[in-house]
Structure formats: structure tokens, C-alpha cells
């Protein structure tokens, strides 16, 4: 019987060790972030764990401020206070990100608020950097807008 590695558990355990990881398809080189068993491009299942560089582009930003379908209740409650690694959640917005390694995802961009959102939106795509976000009892990944390069 084939033995399957537990991808989800390993991904979260890697975050606890300070590593943001993905899997790379050994058949075609496609990177899956976050990890899944089957490659979206070639259907390969031989996956190798890699650490991502963390370099990414912001492709879109939403200025979700109100109750809507766009965000969970817990996120809404969270957005009125609290911090993630010292970054206020009020300074974060839902965003579309593309990793340097290829994958695109709906996630959260930090360092963006209602004051700078529209200005930044007009300059898209912009650079950002992945970082580890501490949640209640587990870690996940967020992306930080660190300003434009000089």
C-alpha cells in the first residue's frame, strides 16, 4: 500500500519552525502553494518540499471595510483590533498575490489601509514579501507591503 505524507500537518509544522514552504512537482517543476497532492499543470504526484523565497507581486487589493460576503465574521471582529506580529490588522486588506515561484492566491496584504489603498491600487502590480502570521493556536502566512524601492 502506498504511503501518503500528511501535507497540511507538515505545512503548519514548517511554519512553527519559521519556514514558509511549498511543494514542487518533480515531473514538470510547477510549484503548488499552499501544498496539494496533485500538480495542477501535469497531474504529477511526485512532489518535493521547498522553502519559498517570499518574494511576491500584489495583483489586486480590496478595501473591505464593512460587513459583506467578502470576509469571515472572525476576520471582521479581528479587523477592529488586535495585532499580528505587531502589525495592526486594521492595516491589512484582502488581496490577490502572485509568488515569484508562480502560484496566485487570494490572501491578505498587510501595510495597506483605507488611506493608501486607492493610491497603491493605481500603481499595481507592486512588490510584497511573505511573512508568518501568528493566529490563535497556529501560524499562517500573510504578505507585507514594505513600500516602493528607492
Amino acid at each position: 500500500m502506498k504511503k501518503y505524507e500528511l501535507f497540511v500537518k507538515k505545512w503548519y509544522e514548517n511554519l512553527e519552525e519559521g519556514k514558509i514552504t511549498a511543494v514542487k512537482c518533480n515531473e514538470c517543476g510547477t510549484v503548488e502553494f499552499p501544498p496539494v497532492y496533485v500538480c495542477r499543470d501535469c497531474s504529477g504526484t511526485d512532489m518535493e518540499w521547498i522553502e519559498i523565497s517570499g518574494n511576491a507581486k500584489i495583483l489586486d487589493i480590496m478595501d473591505v471595510k464593512y460587513m459583506s460576503s467578502s470576509i469571515s465574521v472572525s476576520e471582521m471582529q479581528g479587523s477592529t483590533g488586535g495585532t499580528s506580529n505587531g502589525v495592526s490588522k486594521e492595516d491589512s486588506r484582502p488581496a490577490v498575490i502572485q509568488l515569484e515561484e508562480g502560484p496566485m492566491l487570494n490572501t491578505r496584504i498587510y501595510g495597506v489601509n483605507s488611506t493608501n489603498k486607492e493610491e497603491l491600487w493605481e500603481k499595481l502590480p507592486l512588490d510584497c514579501k511573505a511573512f508568518i502570521v501568528q493566529k490563535d493556536g497556529f501560524k499562517t502566512v500573510g504578505f507585507m507591503y514594505e513600500g516602493e524601492e528607492e
Partner: protein, 422 residues
């Protein structure tokens, strides 16, 4: 392309349709106390009578409902419907594809008939989405849905990675992308979405099954406002997200709808004008996928046009699941019903209303007709069939449409498309 291009193994028709009013059970006299089985049966019996058949003539039942455990306090819900429609002991299946469920019901029934396995299938959906059962009490006793309803929203996101990123973009994703691509200002996008809302409410006005039966102009006048531009941006219609205002959000309601799907031989033996299901397609992606609605809708409609050989110019009426109002713009352009990049101007021109150049969602859609999740797709099919036969109550198009594209979308992930032909 995922389907084999070509026609069904044999032709498939809709012979009858039924639909209840979409309303609040707890707030509507004469409806308060209704149960899921009764609602489902009301729509199903209407559909049978419309087709001129009886339950004994039907071979199998397809049943759709979301969240049956939470909102109805039961599991294996398809089986519970059999006896309410006189089909106890017959094959039945339950399925749930979020708000796309009702559209998928029609496709499943069509496949069952097309394969030759069954001659007549009943496809129905029911949803009691605006109230809750009371634990330990029978089904006619319900309580208002409170904050616990909001807790269900996040359950649409997968609980592995995406939900915890906190990055769901909801229905703001498309207006934002549309602005990026076409250079609209925030105000132009706002005006466009407001124009869609006004037309949607004009379309539901006078529809006896709709939740809102008066147009927004009338509503505004009652509040002492006659300038619609001001009214649409007033405290009565606040923004609930970056782009979407209150009237551009789904109205969560309760209701049921059903259709009788049958073979050509059966359809031609019945009294009513048979409506052919030319083809059904679908595409699905996980909700955390960026631009999921555009990606899946494109896939579904491209495949639909490849199978049928049709294009946007051939479509007389577009129906699309718009639980957030920008979906009308998204679908109209992808379907080639409105010109790409210029669709927003068509809405500003009033084209989407029943008396416009190219109507959309003639029943009012999810923001005006209402959204009873699993029943909504079948309610759109109900409206389409009635319009095609020239039988629509209160808001019949002067020229009955002959070729209609019905697009479903739900749960953030499933897009479907079908062509109905008179």
C-alpha cells in the same frame, strides 16, 4: 473542453415548471408555518399540473438543498421529499452545489433523460434560508435567523489553508478587476452597479412571486426622494463592501421551485409548448482561486457555445445568478450579450430592464426576486420557460424569447451554463 462536443444522446425537454413566492416564512401571512416538504411539494405539484402529468408518471426525483442540517434540522433530505410529492419508493438523489444547486438539478435531470434511463424526471429545490428550526420541535415551528446565520459564511471557504489567510475577496474581485482593465473611475463603477440595481427592481415589480414587487423609483418617492442618483448613494443604500451597496446584495429568502424534465416523445405528447434543453455545461474551482467567477464562467460559456454552435448574438434573454449585483456585468460580457469592455454603458443606458434593448434577469434576480439558495436556479428556469411560452404573469416580454442563456453560479466555486430553446 471537458464535454464531448455534440448533442445529447437523445433530445431533452422541459415540460412543466413551478415556483412558490420567494419570501420570509415568519413574516408572510398565509406562509408562516409552512415546512420544507410542503414548499417543495407546492412547486412540484405546480410543475406537474403545468406539464399535465401526475406523480405516478414521474420516474425519478432530483432534490437540491443547501445547509439542510443547519436550517432544516435534517439529513438525507432528498428522501424526505419523496412522500410529499407522491413518489415514496421511487429513485431520488440529493445534491448541493451552493447557490448553483438549482441549475445543476436541471443538468442532472437532463443527463438522466438523455441517457435513456428515465423518460420523466422531477428536478426541485427548496430552501428555508431566512429562519431556523427550533430544536426538539416539529418543522412548522421556526425562529428568526440571527447572528448564527453569519457564522455560516466562512464555512464556504475551505478550512485547510484559505479560510485562515483571511483573504476572501467576495464579489468585489470582479468590479476591481473590471476597473483595472477598463479604466473606470470609482464613481463610474458605482453608477453602473446602481443602474443594474434599478433595472433589477424594475424587472421584479409586478412579479407575484418576487420578494420585492415595487420598483426603486416608487420606493424612493415614498421616502420623499425623487432624484434617483442621490437616492442610490444615500443612507438608504449604503456601501456594504468596497463596491457593493445594500440593494446590490442578495435577499436571503425562503421558497421552492421545480421543473419536469422529459424525453422528446413525452414532451410532444403533452399540451404545453415544450422547451428544449440544448446543452448544459459547468466548471468548478475552489473559492480561494483568484477571479474564480470569471474563470469558471468563461469555461462554462465557451464550452456551451462550442457544443451548440451559438454565440452572444443568438441570445434573446440572459438569466444569471447575481447574488452580488456585479455578476450581471460579468456574465453579460463573457456571454457576448453585451460588448466586452463596454457592457457597463449598456447598463447605464437601461438595456437590462424588461423594456430595455437586451434584458437580463427578467424576474429581478437574486437582489430583487430573492435568493432561496437551492431553489434559485430553478426559479430562473421557471421564469425562462414562462417567458418563452408567453405566460409570464405581470411582466411578460412583448416578444417571447426563443433562445435563452441561463448561467448559474454558487458557493463561490461552481459556474454552470445552459441554453433553453423554444
Amino acid at each position: 473542453m471537458y464535454s464531448k462536443v455534440g448533442n445529447y444522446q437523445r433530445k431533452v425537454y422541459i415540460a412543466g415548471v413551478g415556483c412558490t413566492r420567494f419570501c420570509d416564512i415568519l413574516d408572510t401571512p398565509g406562509v408562516t408555518g409552512v415546512t420544507e416538504g410542503e414548499l417543495f411539494a407546492q412547486a412540484a405539484i405546480d410543475a406537474m399540473e403545468d406539464a399535465g402529468i401526475k406523480a405516478k408518471d414521474i420516474n425519478a426525483l432530483i432534490h437540491g438543498q443547501l445547509w439542510s442540517a443547519i436550517e432544516s434540522d435534517y439529513l438525507t433530505c432528498g428522501a424526505q421529499m419523496n412522500k410529499w410529492v407522491g413518489m415514496n419508493g421511487k429513485p431520488s438523489m440529493h445534491h448541493d452545489e451552493g447557490c448553483a444547486t438549482g441549475y445543476v438539478s436541471v443538468e442532472l435531470a437532463a443527463q438522466m433523460v438523455a441517457s435513456g434511463k428515465y423518460d420523466i424526471v422531477l428536478a426541485g429545490g427548496v430552501e428555508c434560508a431566512n429562519s431556523h428550526p427550533i430544536e426538539g420541535k416539529p418543522a412548522h415551528m421556526r425562529r428568526p435567523m440571527g447572528a448564527d446565520a453569519m457564522a455560516m459564511g466562512p464555512m464556504l471557504d475551505e478550512n485547510v489553508y484559505t479560510r485562515h489567510f483571511g483573504g476572501r475577496m467576495g464579489m468585489d474581485a470582479f468590479p476591481s478587476q473590471y476597473r483595472l482593465r477598463n479604466g473606470l473611475s470609482i464613481e463610474e463603477m458605482d453608477d453602473t452597479l446602481n443602474a443594474i440595481q434599478i433595472a433589477a427592481r424594475r424587472n421584479s415589480a409586478g412579479n407575484p412571486r418576487a420578494y420585492f414587487q415595487e420598483d426603486l423609483e416608487t420606493f424612493a418617492k415614498k421616502l420623499g426622494m425623487s432624484d434617483m442618483n442621490k437616492f442610490m448613494k444615500s443612507v438608504f443604500n449604503p456601501k456594504v463592501s468596497e463596491y457593493i451597496r445594500k440593494f446590490g446584495m442578495e435577499l436571503r429568502t425562503e421558497g421552492a421551485a421545480a421543473a419536469i424534465v422529459c424525453s422528446e416523445e413525452v414532451a410532444k405528447s403533452l399540451k404545453k409548448m415544450p422547451i428544449e434543453i440544448l446543452a448544459c455545461t459547468g466548471a468548478t474551482a475552489e473559492m480561494g482561486t483568484p477571479n474564480v467567477e470569471e474563470i469558471t464562467t468563461k469555461e462554462a460559456i465557451e464550452e456551451l457555445y462550442a457544443i451548440t454552435g451559438l454565440c452572444g448574438d443568438d441570445i434573446d434573454l440572459l438569466m444569471t445568478n447575481d447574488f452580488r449585483i456585479p455578476s450581471q456585468l460579468l456574465t453579460a460580457e463573457i456571454a457576448g450579450y453585451y460588448p466586452e469592455g463596454e457592457g457597463w454603458k449598456c447598463f447605464l443606458n437601461g438595456d437590462s430592464a424588461y423594456d430595455g434593448r437586451k434584458p437580463i434577469n427578467i424576474n429581478g434576480g437574486r437582489c430583487a426576486f430573492g435568493h432561496a439558495y437551492a431553489a434559485s436556479g430553478l426559479a430562473d428556469v421557471f421564469e425562462t420557460v414562462k417567458q418563452m411560452r408567453g405566460e409570464s404573469e405581470g411582466h411578460q416580454l412583448p416578444v417571447p424569447p426563443k433562445t435563452v442563456l441561463v448561467r448559474g453560479f454558487g458557493g463561490g466555486q461552481n459556474a454552470t451554463a445552459m441554453i433553453l430553446k423554444a
